[in-house]
């Protein structure tokens, strides 16, 4: 009987024992990701750290990204606590304010590789399946325990196979694929499951796979996975990681899946997720004309150069609607610099965009771009929960960078095919 990706990689991390879904295994992850929440994590185990120290200074990766630069004394103090911890315990992988969003940093800096297992105190840790890793989110308490022991338990999940066949029509993007899928399977449709993407996946760049894997958790998935191929290998080469540095893990051809779902990509149209849940997905044509006050292009879901390139092509020489604020949120310093060099930032700012520092900013409503009651925001981020952008009486709609860019011009939700042909 064949094995799924999750079964194979968890068997490897359970020291080669054969495993099956439902089984509990003890694993030692290659890295533990934390961000601004490292401060409360450290505080939980202050005396334990004095007694035992941390298990391995190379285990944690800490990225300050959620509230950067600090917005008040409390967040500033948290950052300070983290910097002191990093010095004291000689944490090798620390990225201070301005480096970018943790998930982008993990992939861009080669801190996660195919065939590795990572855990992080952030739900979008599932993103690294984009390059064939097994990665999943945990809470702060578990991150604290991992700092002390380096190990935790995982239940071997059942797996869902999603076959993506054919090619997308113009004006339709990776974001539309994943929103369509979540709309179909629902916000709980992949609860506890490992989701594998197969079919004609070679056509998708690592950026596009990132967008899709990033949102796996929005259908309840434990992790999301794309098989490693030439695209992955070339991407990793481009960031200086040779193919001798990792061993990809592939599911067996006769692996047993709990469910298989097939998509003809050519039938997918541009879509929008309506408030207040990510699975409330409608064709853009059904919500066209709805007035918006804020647009957000960026975040760990759609904040890479390829995303801004799409937006800049649409906004070149144009101005956004006077009733709209357009926020530009690059997912890393590298993305920021590359977009600057390509002239993309010039185009977006000239069109009326406001450039934010590379971080999470408005996505979680802690600061920067908080909404007012009654306002609507069209965003490329991954969540539209009530109150998510800081105001429970505002509405968040999710879409692709193209849909957001085109809509920014018209001041209302607009079919991107109006500008993209």
């Amino acid at each position: 009987m064949g094995l799924t990706f999750a079964e194979k990689i968890l068997a490897k991390y359970a020291k080669g024992k054969k495993v099956e879904s439902g089984q509990i295994v003890t694993v030692r992850p290659d890295h533990l990701l934390m961000h601004d929440n490292a401060a409360p994590i450290i505080k939980k185990i202050q005396t334990d750290l004095e007694d035992y120290g941390i298990i391995n200074s190379e285990l944690p990766v800490i990225v300050l990204d959620h509230v950067i630069p600090a917005c008040d004394e409390k967040t500033a103090t948290n950052h300070k606590v983290i910097r002191e911890f990093v010095k004291k315990y000689k944490i090798k992988n620390f990225f201070d304010v301005g480096n970018g969003v943790c998930h982008q940093i993990m992939i861009e800096k080669g801190l996660v590789l195919p065939g590795q297992l990572l855990l992080g105190s952030d739900s979008h840790t599932c993103s690294y399946g984009a390059i064939g890793a097994f990665s999943s989110g945990i809470d702060r308490t578990e991150a604290a325990a991992l700092l002390l022991t380096g190990e935790t338990w995982l239940k071997v999940p059942q797996s869902i196979k999603i076959n993506l066949k054919g090619t997308l029509q113009s004006g339709v993007y990776a974001k539309d694929i994943i929103l369509r899928i979540i709309g179909d399977v629902s916000a709980s449709g992949a609860d506890y499951c490992s989701v594998e993407f197969h079919g004609d996946t070679k056509q998708f760049s690592v950026d596009e796979r990132f967008t899709i894997a990033n949102m796996g958790v929005e259908m309840g998935a434990k992790n999301a996975f794309f098989p490693v191929d030439d695209v992955t290998v070339q991407y990793l080469k481009s960031i200086g990681v040779s193919e001798f540095k990792y061993v990809p893990i592939y599911p067996d051809k006769d692996a047993i899946y709990a469910k298989e779902i097939n998509y003809d990509l050519g039938t997918i149209s541009p879509v929008v997720a309506l408030p207040h849940s990510v699975d409330n997905v409608k064709d853009v044509t059904e919500v066209e004309g709805l007035e918006i006050q804020q647009c957000l292009i960026g975040t760990c879901t759609n904040g890479r150069v390829s995303d801004f390139r799409i937006a800049a092509k649409i906004l070149k020489g144009k101005k956004i609607h006077p009733n709209v604020r357009l926020l530009i949120l690059p997912s890393s310093k590298q993305v920021y610099l590359d977009a600057l060099k390509e002239g993309i930032i010039d185009t977006l700012v000239e069109a009326g965009g406001v450039l934010l520092p590379p971080g999470c900013g408005p996505c979680l409503g802690a600061h920067q771009g908080v909404l007012a009651p009654g306002e609507r925001c069209l965003s490329t981020s991954n969540r539209n929960f009530k109150g998510r952008m800081g105001c429970k009486d505002a509405e968040i709609y999710l879409a692709s960078p193209a849909t957001v860019a085109v809509s920014a011009i018209y001041g209302k939700i607009t079919d991107p095919r109006k500008e993209v042909r």
Binding site: N37, K74, G137, E142, G220, G387
Partner: protein
């Protein structure tokens, strides 16, 4: 004992708004904001021993742990739901908070029904009818029974020393 009833997909922003996640971490800081955008009466009126009944996918969304820390701190004795989202599920084990996945019990519950729990035998009694729920695997039960992951980890480290 009061039963608090909610629907499907109660997400972490409803349980604890994201705007407070980097300024509120201790139980006392968390408590006043629990379920703030879902049910403003909850934080005001919740009492030790209360139970939450909910639909599918309870706790979906962020990995923030203020919901599980807060619900444990106010003394919620159990959350009974049709299903739970996985990070919330793990986090509840880590905080020693009892989750009961039992679709039948949720579907059967009517306002005013008397509810009682027999955790040891995996039984929940709703309006006189008994429903069973599966026990946690022993490895995981050990964490919850230790009072949560940090107590469990501390005991383990002490034994090693």
């Amino acid at each position: 004992m009061k039963i608090w009833r909610y629907g499907d997909n109660v997400n972490t922003d409803m349980l604890f708004p994201g705007k407070y996640t980097y300024t509120c971490s201790t139980p006392d800081e968390i408590k006043p904001h629990l379920l703030e955008d879902l049910d403003p009466l909850f934080a005001k009126n919740v009492k030790e021993g209360d139970i939450i009944f909910a639909g599918k996918n309870f706790g979906c969304g962020s990995s923030r742990e203020q919901p599980t820390v807060g619900l444990k701190a106010v003394g919620i004795s159990a959350i009974v739901a049709e299903s739970f989202a996985r990070i919330f599920y793990r986090s509840s084990i880590n905080q020693g908070l009892l989750l009961i996945e039992c679709q039948e019990a949720v579907k059967a519950y009517r306002d005013g029904d008397v509810v009682s729990l027999d955790v040891e035998n995996g039984k929940i009694i709703v309006g006189g009818k008994t429903y069973s729920f599966p026990k946690l695997p022993k490895e995981i039960l050990a964490i919850r029974d230790a009072g949560g992951l940090l107590s469990y980890t501390r005991a383990k480290l002490k034994n090693k020393k």
